[in-house]
Amino acid sequence: MSDMINVKINGFAVSVPKGSTVLEAARAAGVIIPTLCYLKDINEIGACRMCVVEAQEMRGPALGPKRIVAACVYPVSEGMEVFTNSPKVLDSRRKTMQLLLSNHDMKCLSCVRSKNCELQQLAHDLGITDADVYAGSRTEYPIDDSAAHMYRDNNKCILCRRCVAACAVTQGIGVIGANERGFITNIGSQYNKGLGETSCVSCGQCITVCPTGAISEKDFTDKVFEAIADPTKHVIVQTAPSVRAGLGEMFGLPIGTNVEGKMVAALRRLGFDHVFDTNFSADLTIMEEATELIERVSNGGVLPMITSCSPGWVKFCEHYFPDMIPNLSTCKSPQQMLGAVIKTYYAQKMGWDPKDIVSVAIMPCTAKKFEIGRPDQSAAGVPDVDIALTTRELGRMIDRAGIEFNALPDEKFDDPLGIFTGGGLIFGATGGVMEAALRYAVEKLSGEKLTGDAIDFKEVRGTEAIKEATYTAGGVTVKVAVVSGLANARKLLEKVRAGEADYTFIEVMACPGGCVNGGGQPIQPASVRNFTDIRALRAKALYDADAKMELRKSQDNPMIQTLYKEFFGEPGSHKAHEILHTSYVARGVHKI
């Protein structure tokens, strides 16, 4: 008995694995069925009715009647015939769209998601020419701006619940959900509180799955343009590893295109005085974090040590695992480390007052907007980083400035804080921080140089939820785990808490797949997300670049060596602790 099912999509035969949905079978036949609420694996609720098709199934020897079914959740059966574009289907989809629009603010011209909105695209594709045919009363909501990193505008919400699934299922948090019922159903938080009053961790995964402009990051691009125009300010920018792996998507390039050179060129043309790379401080993070790890292992410190690069993860730990704060590495994140180095070491070197520096960070992340306001993140007495922008905001700045991105030459980062190794570069993918740390720790513990294939720690690569590996070097055995996505992290941490796991070192990234899939990255519609592993494609851009680099180990970064010689002394020194390390706050789960 074959495990394949034969069906016809619009009269064309296709054979698909048993258990496939009509949506998947159609895709295999080259037919895209529109969806709104469906997100593979996390939101398969068949609620929005946009994916309806007519289907006939075998009833005994003959085909049964045509029935309207939701393609996203309806499984195929042998002999089934599906019609995706019949007049009845198109009419049904159009009515559904018109009903959605009847309670939507339709302010496309002033919407951040215009041109990148699934609702707008679908209305266009369906040929909606009478959007207000069902005009009547509308529910109106105030915009929730209580969180540091994002807005929620329910006037644009279509109640697809993709954000709810991202929060509850992907991240295991659930601070947003559907409240009330019927016409006044709305996505909100407990007791109708603003998001900023909940235990939201700012990861922004809800933003990247929202089909409309109902959820968006707080945009600080105007602030950056103003700073650049101010002649009294030194405006310095840094870009995180994974921004170069995502930014191209804002300009129509294929997912996974590495646009590092063009990105640097664009930043220069935007007018930043210095273009530095967070990869540099990722290398610096490795020096500090691996040193901290070796110290904890040798001196009986709290283990497992857990990485602290991901501010969404750090906030999650503070809310949901406050008892494990001692396990968090005290290292600031690479963003904050570079910010701190710019306002201390670099300001001193240039003879600048740190107050005259505007430090801008371009991040694949929305939690970075929260992180810059955290306590104990101002090494020079002023915030280490002044403005954190997402990859999307940078894309919009480039558009606004009229820079033809795809025609730009490839340029290099500025010296000295733009020099980096492959170790820093791979921070953007899940497992990257772990691998870079291993490249340092194994060499340090064994006393032997890692060369050739030994530089690759492939066990910790890939997009699986939880990865484990054990390494022995210089008589020391380190058991490591790498986890991404907070629901996965919760599972792993509960095991650690219960004493069922004996790891030495754990890397946690809040977003599934790591920063390449961060909440600040370009938004890909569900029609792409459901059929493409965006995380793997973007991560590949980083690993490919790493493999081609001459310097692949953070400790080999010549500027890192200079920085320690001229300024910090050695990794983990008193000065390094003052400037590059931080502290955490036990927050607990917010009630009311």
């Binding site: 509850a168 659930g174 959900g177 559907a178 407990q190 909940t198 009311i592």
Partner: protein, 167 residues
Amino acid sequence: MAKKIATIPFTGTAEQEQELRATIDALRDDPGCLMPVMQKAQEIYGYLPIEVQTIIADELNIPLEKVFGVATFYAQFTMSPKGKYRISVCLGTACYVKGSGIVMEKLEEALGIESGEITQDGKFSLDDCRCVGACGLAPVVTVNDDVYGRLTGSLKEVQDILAKYAD
């Protein structure tokens, strides 16, 4: 209309909390236990204040928003307690055509609260209902077990009724 959320202070007792926790313990292994737990909690407290919803969320290890979402979805759950005197205004068809909507307005005016709410002193709660089976007396209002029929909808009339419950 969105669910009313009372602001009067929570007065739950240790005994009530003990009973709630025992209920949760008895039901927690059932994956669909949230609704039965909430029903029982409402039986114990008379309503579902934030304090009670928080206990349920913590004990079942689920987000508070999930409990709140269920509480606001189902008509059977209330987040406003009932007063010492529970006033019900019938908005069923017969009463409504006889002007019970106006009676409701006057009661809201006299009490300073809206339907679904409770006065800050906890004395009166006001709700609408659908038919008490006394259509011949329309429009009808009940206060606990007392029935008032053939009301005219004047403010004085409802004030006189409220005055009977002075204690």
